[in-house]
């Protein structure tokens, strides 16, 4: 049944998806809420439309398509690689615009050639937008969490600190705060003399036994999520981290990296220069980055349309590599956004490790842009 409020260009969109050899899928509008809150975090709760089934199960109106498409893939178990396309209504409160709007997109699940899959996602998004907005200049901003992770690792920080920095990637203010703290070593406070003495002896079993004893005595042991050995292990990790700091020179290197913002045409050279001038061992990350740039060129994307911004990322734990946004030149409204989310499928319960990359299109903004173009 055709929906009368579908954007007028929906048939063109579906034709484009077919041309791109994707498999069109639909998912129910009413979805279990748990996976969305679990994957995207509690922040989403305020923006989605929640209700309950008669039996008390939390349900919501589909707030986006990626999770339902991935779940459907896991349930139907049809094997990979698969490229799914979707077009349908989503329900989510936004700062700008209405709370029910159409989204369309492509999810590429299980393609093992990352460079090729990344490039194809950007190329597909660009080609669809160019079909819908012929002659309008588009520009892509991309980031790459893998390069940031490599830089942080190469700086020689303890793993715990690397994880903190990677977690904050994409949140400039959080990252700044972390870097400030890294400028001077911290001291662990709040440990009783008894525990400090125990830790100092290096006797792990005694420490675990002590924690175990306290948990028994306080009635925590039976239901505790964190076992005594978890607590002891992280306490030791933390004490190892406490002394860690970055000297001013290394912090400057990190800041310099985060300020990189260049056309993808020059990005491999800039990244090369950065690695050479700082002496950081970034070979593997640079190679993967360069392979993707080559794949972009092969996929027919103009490198001059893409800007690489080193600090661009999304601070959610399922994003792993490429992230990108497409806007019209000189306009802030994001028409398409996407990225690589290799951890999502296992988080959702897939038995195998399934790499994934995809994008979604903001159809109401595209519709608006088409109307503006018609008036101009």
């Amino acid at each position: 049944m055709p929906l009368i409020n579908l954007p007028a260009f929906a048939p063109d969109l579906l034709a484009a998806f077919e041309r791109l050899e994707t498999e069109r899928v639909d998912t129910p509008v009413i979805q279990p809420a748990e996976p969305f809150l679990d994957i995207a975090g509690e922040d989403l709760r305020r923006r989605i439309f929640l209700t309950q089934s008669e039996t008390g199960e939390s349900l919501c109106l589909r707030p986006e398509f990626t999770i339902p498409v991935c779940l459907r893939h896991i349930e139907t178990a049809t094997g990979t690689p698969k490229r799914y396309a979707y077009l349908g209504e989503v329900f989510r409160q936004r700062r700008e615009g209405g709370s029910e709007f159409y989204q369309a997109g492509i999810e590429d699940l299980g393609t093992r050639d990352f460079a090729l899959a990344d490039a194809r996602a950007v190329a597909d998004a660009m080609s669809v937008l160019m079909t819908l907005l012929p002659g309008r200049p588009l520009t892509v901003t991309m980031g790459d969490q893998a390069v940031f992770e490599a830089v942080v690792a190469a700086l020689g920080l303890p793993v715990g600190w690397q994880k903190r920095l990677v977690r904050a990637f994409g949140e400039q203010s959080q990252l700044e705060a972390l870097m400030l703290r890294l400028a001077s070593p911290e001291h662990v406070t709040g440990l009783s003399p008894e525990i400090e003495a125990l830790v100092k002896t290096g006797d792990d079993e005694a420490l675990v036994a002590h924690i175990d004893g306290v948990m028994q005595a306080t009635g925590y042991l039976t239901n505790a999520s964190r076992a005594p050995k978890d607590i002891a292990r992280r306490l030791k990790d933390k004490l190892a981290l406490a002394g860690a700091s970055l000297d001013a020179a290394k912090l400057d290197i990190l800041r310099e990296f985060l300020s990189l913002n260049v056309s993808l045409r020059y990005a491999p050279g800039v990244l090369d220069d950065f690695a050479a001038s700082t002496g950081l061992p970034l070979d593997a990350a640079v190679q993967a980055f360069d392979a993707r740039v080559a794949a972009f060129a092969n996929a027919g994307v103009k490198l001059s349309d893409i800007t690489w911004r080193a600090a661009f990322g999304r601070p959610l734990d399922y994003y792993t590599g490429l992230v990108f946004e497409i806007t019209m030149r000189g306009d802030h409204r994001v028409l398409a956004g996407g990225g690589r989310f290799d951890r999502m499928m296992s988080l959702l319960g897939a038995a195998d490790d399934i790499p994934a990359v995809g994008f979604s299109l903001w159809l109401d903004r595209i519709e608006h842009a088409i109307e503006e173009g018609a008036r101009a």
Partner: protein, 231 residues
């Protein structure tokens, strides 16, 4: 125009609020019998008193159905989105002190700060097969503090409407966000407050609904000045 003030309908909060208004020159009397939910100020036909529960008061100020209310800052900030745009905290009244805090099991020796908690939350799923859970009735304050101030996204809230402190020991949540005044209940349940885990230092406040009509109302200005004058 009549100015309506919502006051707590029972307990210490009711007595303390009445005492402050008394000192400010407003003698509050209930209309009809002692249990009545309507009151008046002696000698003032232009002021009405409504006795409501503390959480109703924050809602009614948010709606603008009353002009003033005396209630805890925690309830206002939890109940209203963008509270400062909708209400004005005119005066802090010096009673009903309660801190909204993040508390974790005392035996989590490795967790002293929100940064520690962020580390634990990030690894939680991989180690325990689920997200870190927080028992609280303060959904909004928790979300703002965890995501907004500390960049912690990955946790789940478990609604708790009473005996929140017992949740970690009973296994219904890992940590809690709750109010505490002396900390003794937390200690009794073997919980500790994180060193940077105070979300809000709350107390009873005189709160005004932001209404345009208030700008030209001398009674509104008079009440604010009188209450501030006796603190």
């Amino acid at each position: 125009m009549t100015v309506t003030i919502a006051l707590p309908s029972k307990g210490r909060m009711k007595e303390d609020a009445s005492a402050i208004f008394q000192r400010a020159g407003y003698t509050i009397a209930t209309v009809g019998n002692d249990r009545s939910y309507r009151g008046r100020v002696e000698g003032r036909d232009d002021i009405e008193i409504a006795f409501l529960s503390a959480s109703e008061i924050s809602r009614e100020i948010g709606n603008g159905t009353v002009d003033f209310g005396v209630t805890g800052e925690d309830l206002v900030r939890e109940g209203l989105a963008r509270a400062d745009e909708r209400v004005e905290f005119c005066a802090r009244l010096g009673f009903g002190h309660a801190d909204v805090v993040v508390a974790v099991p005392e035996i989590w020796l490795d967790v002293e700060t929100m940064a520690d908690l962020g580390d634990v939350a990030a690894d939680f799923r991989a180690r325990h097969g689920r997200r870190l859970t927080i028992a609280t009735k303060y959904w909004r304050l928790t979300q703002q503090f965890f995501s907004g101030n500390h960049g912690i996204q990955l946790y789940r809230i478990v609604e708790s409407l009473g005996a929140t402190e017992g949740a970690p020991a009973s296994g219904s949540a890992d940590i809690i966000v709750d109010i505490t005044s002396t900390g003794s209940t937390l200690r009794a349940n073997h919980l500790k407050i994180l060193s940077d885990g105070v979300i809000l230092k709350s107390e009873a406040c005189l709160v005004r609904a932001r209404k345009e009509s208030h700008d030209s109302d001398p009674v509104v200005a008079e009440i604010v000045a009188a209450v501030r004058g006796v603190l």
